[in-house]
């Protein structure tokens, strides 16, 4: 038998992506690419009012539009027991189609099914809805007063959704009171939207066996199947969810949206396939938004800059329904990571969420459940503290970092950080950017009145939810799974409950299996997103693929290795105890000449297995013992134009530590993308509502995505501190750059403006806001002088 000539080392290799050939040739398979005989198109009628009673819905004109087959309203769905849909938060539900009243602008009001896209739109246009406007609650602070009750359907007659808190309230208050230095700042992390370039959508039909075939843009297909079964009553075995290629997700494709339910109902009632593809406008105005946290950050410290206490009180705007896809026990997600990379002896964090007449959401936008908000809060807070102390931002951070010898480190808010070497990561960043030279340049520029800023973010996040004792969604524990089958020729297939949206699972998972089994990654196929074939998993978001599904793959591969050892022993004609796995093959202990490869074992598993059970496959469900805690040190250098308020990001260095890296090329790509989204939030991206509740950023002409021209040239690097509990020592990374970078940008701009006395500006740092801050600061200075 042939021994593989090529080196078998797979993990850590910059392997080109196996999925790319289809994408670069236009052969990707996205939901809107699907077409079935007799397929109808669904178009939704949406509310023009943010808050109004529906006096009547007249569909008679719509039914006359050529090609229109049916129009469905909230009343029809209510009659079918489908008026409401449970949110993934679990403790709230949302209307599928408005019943009685609308609660946000662009809310789904009626569903029109027609033979063509155009006819569906014509039909939707012809539906006449008579609204009686109601008073609008456009922000959480107005909501707090309960003057207007938004959700009379709920038991508790208040707009207050929940109060959540963690930490030592009294201890924090005492420590704060006795701290010689204190800072307090209101920080608003504005409402954003993930806006993947492919909008959400689905095709639903019932096959000849009465099975629902549901092709949908989903980051969590299995959860969809269970949720759909619970909501519609269709037995789970009669639901087949297929999530094909996804054109990005970033958290936007985790929740179940009304359009999906309407498509299924239409397919069921009309008996034909129904396609619903969201437009960009619908995507930005009605599907899961992110952030919208107003955070009052308070930090106490000693005079020489040792932090003594942290208190964060947050007012959260959750929109019309509480659709934040958070784990059941964590209504504010993992916001408790707000102590960041610093050794706070005591801390207290609280979040109060309120309903408003805005789109529902609060999803984890490239973020491990509110970790982005938390990181921004602590990293901005530390800079404001440095400013207060007249201390260098780097010095302050280093002074308060959790020392590497204290890991695993129990944080003041109840997390156990697995590993990290924060000083080292920051030193690499300082080295790369040339900090001392920059400080010199900055001093010279300031002397000339020029505005140059250097900003840092040395964040730690918690990713890979999560241990079943803590984490579940709709009651389903947040494990993940893998199934591996090795074929007679040594090729194989791996399936997981995760779902790639561009992260390159088809490549990295093959690398992991190849590494563990000494096989060729080019012959390991990866399949995800099909609930008929993939083992049950919670899906891909919150950077959980590698920490959870990735671990499941390693464990399944190791199970295969144990089975293979028996066969190897049989082939080597020795006892199993005498066989060891070394250098990617089985070898008789102490006899390097006597080896068999996994390829040979695979063939034997089907052709020559003696008394051993035939076949070579394994399944593993992985319940992580803890989350992983990737960290990073980011440095940003900016020049601000006094006259126009324009900020140029001259350099940006990102040093990440995500433990063991499976494919450095892919990790770099993830970091580039995350930094770009962080850059967008820091400078141009926001979903705004005016006081009347009108959404002002309804498409890409006003919800701004940076182009190649605005986007800085990223410089990346990494340090490696393996996770002690992950079978490969890996941590999640997809979100780190998005979580860590906003503070680095804002800190840099504020540093540039600090000589003028500017202490804070809320994101996005538009030219207008920055110019205004400069002007006001100069006016103030002139007054004092």
């Amino acid at each position: 038998m042939s021994i593989q000539a090529k080196p078998l080392h797979s993990v850590g290799v910059r392997m080109k992506r196996k999925e790319d050939p289809r994408f670069i040739q236009g052969k990707g398979n996205y939901v809107d690419d699907l077409s079935f005989p007799g397929m109808l198109y669904l178009s939704l009628v949406r509310s023009t009012y943010p808050h109004a009673e529906i006096k009547s819905i007249d569909i008679s004109e719509a039914m006359k539009v050529p090609g229109v087959k049916a129009v469905i309203t909230g009343k029809d769905l209510e009659a079918a027991g489908l008026g409401w849909l449970p949110t993934f938060h679990g403790f709230d539900k949302q209307m599928v189609l408005a019943i009685g009243k609308v609660l946000f602008q662009y809310q789904e009001v009626a569903a029109v099914f027609a033979e063509t896209r155009a006819a569906a739109v014509d039909g939707a246009e012809a539906v006449q809805v008579d609204y009686a406007p109601l008073p609008v609650v456009a922000d959480p602070f107005t909501s707090k007063t309960d003057k207007v009750l938004l959700r009379p359907d709920r038991e508790s007659k208040t707009n207050h959704i929940f109060h959540w808190e963690v930490g030592d309230k009294d201890g924090t208050a005492r420590a704060m009171a006795s701290s010689p230095k204190r800072i307090k700042q209101r920080l608003w992390f504005q409402r954003c939207h993930p806006a993947p370039l492919e909008p959400c959508g689905c095709v639903a039909y019932f096959d000849t066996m009465g099975r629902l075939q549901f092709h949908v843009t989903s980051q969590a297909p299995h959860v969809y199947r269970t949720a759909l079964s619970l909501v519609t009553g269709i037995p789970e075995d009669k639901i087949h969810v297929i999530s094909p290629d996804l054109g990005g997700g970033f958290g936007n494709k985790v929740p179940v949206y009304p359009g999906y339910v309407c498509a299924i109902v239409g397919a069921l009632k009309i008996g034909r396939p129904v396609k619903w593809i969201e437009t960009r406008t619908e995507n930005l105005t009605s599907t899961g938004f992110a952030r919208d946290y107003h955070m009052d950050v308070e930090i106490g410290a000693t005079a020489d800059g040792k932090v003594t206490a942290l208190h964060v009180a947050t007012t959260a705007d959750h929109g019309a329904f509480d659709a934040a896809a958070d784990p059941t026990k964590y209504p504010a997600g993992i916001f408790g990571i707000v102590t960041g990379s610093y050794a706070f002896p005591v801390a207290h964090a609280e979040v109060d969420a309120y309903f408003t007449n805005k789109a529902p959401g609060g999803i984890a936008y490239r973020c491990s459940f509110r970790v982005t908000e938390a990181s921004y809060a602590i990293e901005r807070g530390m800079d404001i503290l440095a400013d207060e102390l007249g201390m260098d931002a780097v010095e302050l951070r280093k002074k308060n970092f959790i020392p590497k010898d204290q890991f695993p480190y129990p944080s003041a808010l109840g997390f156990t950080y697995d590993s990290g070497d924060y000083h080292k990561t920051l030193d690499v960043a300082l080295e790369t950017i040339g900090y001392s030279a920059l400080l010199k340049e900055q001093a010279e520029k300031r002397a000339r009145g020029e505005l140059m800023g250097i900003g840092f973010s040395t964040f730690t996040e918690a990713v890979g939810a999560g241990p079943s004792k803590h984490f579940d969604i709709l009651g389903i524990k947040m494990f993940d799974s893998a199934e591996i089958r090795i074929h007679p020729t040594g090729a194989g297939i791996v399936r997981t409950g995760a779902k790639s949206q561009g992260q390159g699972h088809e490549t990295t998972w093959a690398q992991v299996v190849a590494e563990e089994l000494g096989l060729d990654p080019q012959t390991i196929m990866v399949e995800e997103g099909d609930t008929d074939t993939a083992p049950y998993g919670l899906g891909t978001y919150a950077s959980r693929s590698t920490p959870v599904a990735g671990a499941a793959i390693v464990m399944a591969a190791r199970r295969i290795r144990e089975k293979a050892r028996k066969i190897a022993a049989h082939l080597l004609e020795v006892g199993e105890a005498d066989v060891e796995w070394t250098d990617y093959k089985f070898q008789v202990k102490g006899v390097p000449s006597k080896t068999v490869t996994m390829k040979e074992v695979a063939f034997a598993a089907y052709t020559n297995m003696a008394q051993i059970e035939p076949g070579l496959e394994a399944t593993y469900y992985y319940d992580p013992p803890n989350m992983t805690y990737p960290n990073g040190a980011y440095v940003s250098v900016v020049d601000v134009d006094r006259e126009t308020g324009e900020t140029k990001v001259r350099r940006f260095v990102a040093i990440d530590d995500c433990g063991v890296v499976i494919n450095p090329m892919i990790v770099e790509g993830q970091v580039h993308g995350g930094l770009t989204e962080g850059f967008a939030m820091a400078f141009i991206q926001e979903i705004q509502y005016d006081a009347e509740g009108n959404n002002l950023n309804t498409n890409f002409t006003d919800y701004l995505v940076p182009t190649s021209l605005e986007t800085p040239h990223w410089e990346t690097g990494n340090t490696v501190t393996p996770s002690p509990h992950h079978p490969m020592g890996a941590k999640g990374v997809g979100e780190s750059p998005n979580v860590g970078s906003p503070a680095a940008f804002v800190n840099a701009v504020i540093d540039a403006l600090s000589p003028l006395g500017v202490r804070h500006i809320d994101m996005p740092l538009s030219r207008d806001k920055v110019w205004r801050a400069i002007r006001d600061a100069e006016a103030k200075k002139a007054k004092q002088a």
Partner: protein, 148 residues
Amino acid sequence: MNLQYTGEEKIPASLDKVWAFVTDPQKVGRCFPDVVDVAVQDATHFEAIVKVGVGPVRGKFKMKVELVPADSKRRIDMKMSGGGFGSTVDLTSGADIVDAGDGTTLLKWRGQAEARGPVAAVGGRVLDAQAEKLIAQAFGNVRQQLTA
């Protein structure tokens, strides 16, 4: 988006004549610029269809109008809601009617427009031009017709 306009018309007619005019739905309706049709429902309610044409944006705007005369006969408020091209616009305008003494009457008006839907989001500037035109010309036409 929320837009506000103000203006004043000096009308060579007595206060009573002006009052009679501005409280008559049929007459007021005819004062809208490019009005195509006025359908009076009762003494204080009517629907008016006006032609809208700014650059690429051309279509018919249907307005539901309510007149709210003050008992003082010194003020009339007008609530208009309606729209076209996929959007709704709520216009509210009020006019203080002041006897200038010299046999003329002043119409001191203030208008406010609020748009929802694509027009607000996509064509805000288009709408602004229209709303201002609608209100300003309406009062201008009141003067013209009372002058004629």
